[in-house]
Symmetry: C2
């Protein structure tokens, strides 16, 4: 333990760290060390490790500082030696910056102190050295303000108040209008307010300043906004932040000084035609951020582009806003060479911070730059072409989740920034949309037929709204969460949806939406951003996604390296076509009940549901009847419901068949896994009086009878109730009808490859009972149509018991599909509908790393899956196994699926590219791991 090293020096003639030590030194520290090693001009300094920060929280401040301060002092001595300056005193004082820097970038979240080391003595020395009293006083003023705020805990406005008082007294408006003497007064007032409020003096001992600065940076690791940022950005497992203590260089020491940031390629498009970035003459970093002065471009080309956009003439530009290339050509040349060197060295696009002090360039930071999805794809493919990285690395360079940005329409970014936000709901389905407001599905359809763009606004949606949702550009609902009907259906359609926008009072009768003081009416334009949940007033220009060029290239690379198949969850020919366009190799899950949602079908479906149980019970009673008379009496009772039942089945058969034909055609010979009726039936029947009255009319029975039939379907825990194959077992005629529809469609579309899948099996005997119906029906259709059909037979694995007995089940099927949503519900005993109450807590407290409904719970559910897979393969080596459900398009879960040897994943159409890329990354990572 006594051998622990907490401080790493960089700059001058040596670097103790290097670029690979990001975990220990943080990104900034490791990169500074690396740049120093490469001989680049880096102001020297040292890094206190992230482990020290971890220990700060573990053993407490006092013990930690006893451990690290000797090393800090030694590094400070070295720093004085290298720079020839002295810290906190002397004629050539050493000033330092103290900055945070975690292993993962968290821009602006933690604290920074600049100009540390200033005190009355060094201020005088600096004035003598620079001959620029105002610059020094301004630096001192800034230092006290920053240190007072960040380190000592003063409120920002306490300082602002003093500054404003002095400015008012002097009759000036801008800080820059204050003289050195004015600033001296500000400094005195700053010190006084600190004294009054905190009861202590502003520290003058530079060593004390440094120690306090380090403490503050450590402390800022766990400030609320840093914690929130890590939560939001899913940053986990870090020990803490490193602290970088670095010699100050001044971009604000005169007109031969400057400061700026630059990207080695365009971070928004990935374009490599010029050097992208901005700088400000005679400024410190915070001035760039403050945005008071207009930053200038790095290159002439970039500067000209900028001027063109801003409507500034070439003359004015050259005079007022010259590029760095023009203003400091030598420095630019040096910087451009560094840019190339850093890209070559790091083999990725770089995000750099630099300062020019008296004409001398210093590199303050470099790191792999953040980028948009479009840029990520372009840069990755470009780097391959440039020979900097290989194809596998390119595949690994793009974050699969990011791809979502490229698959949906987006707003013109400038226009969106300018638009007025009315409200924010849940980002229920990504993409953007602009349209006029309609309040009913019918109106959406009508307007859609007229070619008008509309936004369907509903309190909440129901199956009757589907056609309207298809016609609308986007959907806005006032109620419902991320798994509400609107959200789920919209995601399936890849249609923009903002759900659960509680601030919007949607009055469908009055045809108005009230949001705060704004009253919107039918026909008013609004715009939705389904990726952020924002609702905007008016019409914002949208742009369609481009699926060619670099996107197509990276997808081709992904397909080249992935070993797992990618299918889609689709229930309509339209969704199937979208998914095929996105590269789906088949349908992995067609939820047949979704086919009943549209209004022309739901009535027949409801009719079937409502009489099925009655028919079943009567049939059983007839079979068990003792006497012929009893039998006859029951037979008479059966007549009416049986007629209803058969009529409903007869209505549904051709509709389902038509759907399947459409899907088979869209798939053009690709496989299509079709799941038989699955959900609890009560979900489909009308619970409101109007709906029940409608059914009563259709069925020719009383409303009370309909109500009784509906009530009979009530269940306490429907998720564990009469659903899945239990329906097909209770009502074999439904299974038969569905299988017949599939087979007749397959017979009509040559080359179809249907795969029939039984849901919610828990016991091989349930499966066998359905298998018999399936086989007999296939044989019957084959005989009728005189064809030979290729139909695979399989089952969902979504009940723990099925996974546990997968060896028994595997012998009876061609394939498994893990229904990981349901399997998570039962394995963890989490009702998806109810778990919201505690699950968020569970994730934030670290019980689960992620919401197990979003990222597969590998330790629990995954363990069961692996058990099931291994057992199944042992008895049926050729069995095909996949995942369908939301996890099939989630990269971490896809990687897990790859690791347990699944054959394919299946996800909603708009996640297919994500799954393809994630599958490729999983395969590449696995191969690399195996090679090791």
């Amino acid at each position: 333990m006594s051998n622990e090293k907490f401080v790493y020096f960089f700059g001058g003639d040596r670097s103790e760290g290097n670029g690979s030590m990001k975990t220990l030194l943080g990104g900034k520290g490791a990169n500074l060390a690396e740049m120093a090693s490469m001989g680049l001009p880096v102001p020297p300094g040292f890094t206190i490790t992230t482990e020290a920060c971890g220990k700060y929280y573990e053993i407490g401040e006092e013990k930690l500082f006893a451990k690290i301060m000797p090393e800090v002092e030694a590094a400070l001595d070295e720093l004085q030696r290298v720079t020839g300056k002295t810290f906190g005193k002397g004629a050539n004082p050493l000033l330092v910056s103290v900055r945070s820097g975690a292993a993962v970038s968290m821009p602006g979240m933690m604290d920074t102190v600049l100009n540390l080391g200033l005190n009355p003595e060094t201020v005088e020395a600096m004035i003598a050295k620079t001959g620029n009293k105002r610059f020094v006083m301004d630096s001192y003023r800034r230092f006290i303000q920053m240190f007072g705020n960040v380190v000592m805990g003063m409120e920002h406005h306490d300082f602002e108040h003093e500054l404003e008082t002095v400015k008012a007294a002097k009759g000036v408006k801008l800080d820059t209008e204050l003289s050195a003497e004015d600033l001296e007064e500000v400094i005195a007032r700053y010190k006084a307010v600190i004294r009054t409020q905190l009861g202590k003096e502003f520290p003058t001992d530079a060593h004390e300043q440094l120690k306090m600065g380090i403490q503050a940076v450590f402390g800022s690791w766990n400030n609320p906004r840093a914690i929130k940022y890590r939560e939001l950005n899913d940053i986990r497992g870090l020990a803490g932040t490193a602290v970088n203590v670095q010699t100050m260089v001044f971009g604000n020491s005169g007109n031969n000084s400057a400061t700026g940031v630059a990207f080695s390629r365009d971070p928004s498009t990935g374009d490599n035609s010029y050097f992208y970035g901005e700088y400000l003459i005679n400024a410190q970093g915070e001035d760039v951020v403050a945005g008071i002065r207009t930053p200038q471009e790095i290159t002439i080309a970039g500067s000209r582009e900028w001027a063109k956009r801003a409507g500034i003439s070439e003359e004015e530009r050259r005079a007022k806003y010259p590029s760095l290339e023009e203003a400091m050509p030598e420095v630019f040349k040096q910087f451009d060479a560094i840019r190339a060197k850093l890209e070559q060295h790091n083999k990725d696009m770089q995000d750099m911070e630099f300062t020019i002090e008296d004409g001398k360039l210093f590199m303050l930071q470099t790191r792999n730059g953040k980028r948009t999805a479009a840029a990520a794809v372009r840069i990755a493919t470009d780097l391959v072409k440039e020979g900097l990285i290989d194809e596998q690395t390119a595949v690994l360079r793009v974050e699969p989740q990011q791809l979502d940005q490229l698959l949906h329409p987006v707003f013109n970014a400038v226009a969106e920034k300018k638009a007025k936000t009315l409200a924010t709901g849940l980002p229920a389905s990504p993409g953007v949309a602009a349209g006029t407001i309609v309040f009913t599905a019918e109106d959406a359809e009508t307007q859609g037929r007229l070619g008008n763009k509309v936004i369907l606004c509903r309190a909440e949606t129901s199956p009757e709204d589907i056609a309207g949702m298809v016609s609308a550009q986007g959907i806005l609902t006032a109620r419902g969460g991320m798994t509400s009907h609107a959200a789920v259906v919209a995601r399936g359609m890849g249609k923009c949806c903002v759900a659960g926008c509680g601030d919007a009072v949607i009055d469908a009768k009055a045809k108005t939406i009230k949001i705060g003081d704004t009253l919107l009416r039918e026909g008013d334009w609004i715009s939705l951003n389904g990726s952020t949940g924002k609702v905007y007033e008016g019409r914002i220009e949208t742009r369609d996604p481009e699926l060619t060029g670099p996107f197509a290239e990276i997808m081709a690379l992904a397909d080249k390296y992935r070993t797992m198949g990618v299918r889609t969850n689709a229930d309509t020919p339209r969704d199937t076509l979208v998914a095929v366009r996105f590269g789906a190799e088949g349908v992995g899950l067609c939820r047949t009940e979704h086919m009943f949602f549209s209004e022309d079908r739901i009535i027949a479906f409801r009719r079937m549901i409502l009489v099925a149980e009655k028919v079943k019970k009567l049939k059983e009673a007839i079979a068990a009847a003792g006497s012929a008379a009893e039998k006859a009496a029951l037979q008479a009772q059966l007549e009416a419901p049986l007629a209803q039942y058969n009529a409903a089945l007869a209505t549904l058969l051709p509709l389902q068949r038509g759907d399947f034909e459409g899907m088979f055609k869209a798939l053009d010979g690709r496989e299509c896994t079709i799941r038989l009726l699955d959900p609890p039936l009560h979900e489909f029947v009308p619970h409101d009086e109007a709906g029940q009255a409608e059914m009563a009319k259709v069925m020719g029975i009383s409303v009370a009878e309909v109500k009784a039939l509906v009530d009979e379907l009530h269940e306490f825990n429907p998720m564990l109730g009469h659903r899945g194959c239990r329906l097909g077992i209770s009502y074999p005629e439904v299974t038969e009808m569905q299988v017949r529809a599939i087979c007749e469609a397959a017979a009509a579309v040559p080359g179809s490859k249907p795969e029939i899948m039984v849901p919610l099996v828990g016991n091989v005997k349930e499966l066998l009972s359905q298998k018999q119906i399936v086989r007999e029906t296939i044989a019957a259709v084959e005989k009728e149509k005189g064809v030979k059909l290729e139909v695979l037979f399989g089952t969902m694995i979504e009940v723990p018991r099925a996974a546990l007995t997968s060896d028994e089940i595997a012998k009876e099927v061609d394939f498994f599909s893990f229904g990981t949503n349901d399997l998570t519900q039962t394995t963890c005993a989490f009702s998806r509908d109810d778990a919201g109450k505690f699950l968020r807590d569970y994730v934030s407290r670290g019980f689960y790393d992620y919401d197990p409904f979003i990222v597969l719970d590998q330790k629990g559910v995954g363990k069961l899956m692996k058990f099931a897979v291994d057992q199944a393969r042992a008895v049926n080596p050729g069995i095909r196994m996949g995942i369908c459900g939301e996890h099939g398009g989630e990269p971490r879960s896809v990687e897990f699926a790859n690791s347990i040897g699944l054959t394919y994943v299946s996800c909603s159409p708009y996640r297919v590219p994500i799954a393809r890329l994630a599958a490729a990354q999983a395969a590449i990572k696995a191969a690399r791991k195996a090679a090791k």
Copy 2:
């Protein structure tokens, strides 16, 4: 296959089968063969195997008979040789009986034909041989009637009609009054009605008769009542019935003939003081069954007992109803010797059928006799004392389930038989009760305090009725099933309950019960049989169970041989005491929420529930508040609900502590596993207006606010929702209060051994979060009280994920308890409340062998349990693991628990003796298996 043997001969000088071949020859066939081998007087015959019956259903009648008839004919030849008679012809005709006989006795369920072989020719020969035309004609008449009905499918009443016609014409009332000639006319009419109805003649060919008889017996294996019987008696896995073809002997051939049945010991008490049985002079078996004549006793002692009960003088008895011992002393002596020989040989009480033909004794059947639980226990212990069987065998001789009969009060059997049945409900909780009707829990309590016996009659019960249920002798409800509140609570109390008695219209306002035409009022006597569901008018005498004598002896033997512990599920000191009396070695499950049921507590409990979430949310908001002002505002909002919450907790703490003290005292140093709050909270809050109004008053808020709080607790799938440890995690104060109550009680009762159990854990981190609260609270109480407490810490394993990750969890606990009810729900995805709709179907169709909520599903749930046990033991060899829940008292499940090495099972108090015996049987079977 050509070597298959389908027919086994017995009698004369050889027996092809023996007593061990029950599976192949059926019980009757095997025993006949065995008796013949032993040299006992058995009428010779042969047995057609059960496999032949199996094949009958497998390959069909025609193919089967082609296979077996050659063997049948050969056996028939042998029979003719041995008896010296000829079949269907000749002067000395061979008549046979054709009887069914499966491996498991199914009395009266399948078909029998007697006197087969009679036809015009053999009738004449028999008359000539016996000189008794009436006897022969009566036999022929009976044969045609029996054969016509059983084999040819005629309705019984068709024959009755003809018989009545002849009797009317002759002006007689009894069959016995008909002359031989009258019977000849009956015979002619029988044959005519067969001819008319079936269009064919009654067969005269004896060989054809035999073949048809065999077919009929095979066919009767699957008649509806046989199927039902097997279902009801849980008889499975048999191939079919054997057919026994045996030489007829005639108990009705004169006054030196007789027929009867006898038990080697009293089947109702197990008493061995005399030979128990009945016989009738000059009768055939069916006469005994018909009950027209009074059967006589076998022994003088028995006969005297009988006469005493019937009020018959010794003179009259000796004259009219002499015992066999008196009537045929030689035959009796022979029979008594056979009885002893058979008991010695079979080492069990025997149930024998015999016939005496012309003074010659024939044994027609012997088998191990059915017996009551009391007899089973007595016989088993007696046989050990007699040196016939060893202790282990005695333990195996008693069916654990049967013990239930011995633990509850029973009716005087004669009185129950005489009582008027009013209605039949569900046998919800075993035992019997008689009392006057009351309609409210309060009245039950009042009457109880006065020492009056009452039956509490309610439409359905709710937690408020608990105290009344305790005071009542029994409970009758009109609504609710086997798992309704009344049923579950009554079973826990060991109190008789008839539930869901739909025929009883209970009007609590009018204080009447209407059952059909009967109107009962408050104060009227009724009697309930909770084991059969019967409701009787009036008061039936009851008898308390005896837990001493043979019962205590067999329990001592069970305890000697079992290796697994047996605990009880009890929530009150009272139940705990009952269970300890039944031999419970500790409490395996105390459901703390049950302690809140009584009316004085439910209000405080509801108050706690209703504000807990509000308090939690406000506390979180305060922690996250940005400004001091916001914090203060929230703090002000928190004040009122927090006061409610703390007041409720403060009210509940001493109540819980008192309960625990009572239980610890009752346990007297035995271990007590206490489960923290578990069920979904909405179960406890009032959903009716009155209840909500009451809470509004108590809490000083509006009814609307109460309703809103109640509504917030609604869940779609509560079984998978906010319950179990999720409650303790959301509301740590509740966990703390409960643990504090446990610890304070333990501190007050020296020697207490509390074990704290966390419910519904799915993730070790949930457990750890609760463990911390538990530890801190224990430490706090230890400090306050200045004591050192011995408290174990453990968890339920009832979520599949917990079982899957048992290795992680096992490291953190002293014990596991498998909550097999919940584990079955989640592993099979069966909601216990809803699965009724399909689960009965599932069992009857063989998907599951038993209802998995009654008998543990070993293939699925059990596999998961074994996985969990093995994993846990690997990391924590000393871990104690048990089952609590209904399965813990179910013998098959207990055997499984033993096989996977569980430490104990825990079940409701009244199942403790069953579990003890089942555990002993499991240990003995396992040891025997291991020895092999």
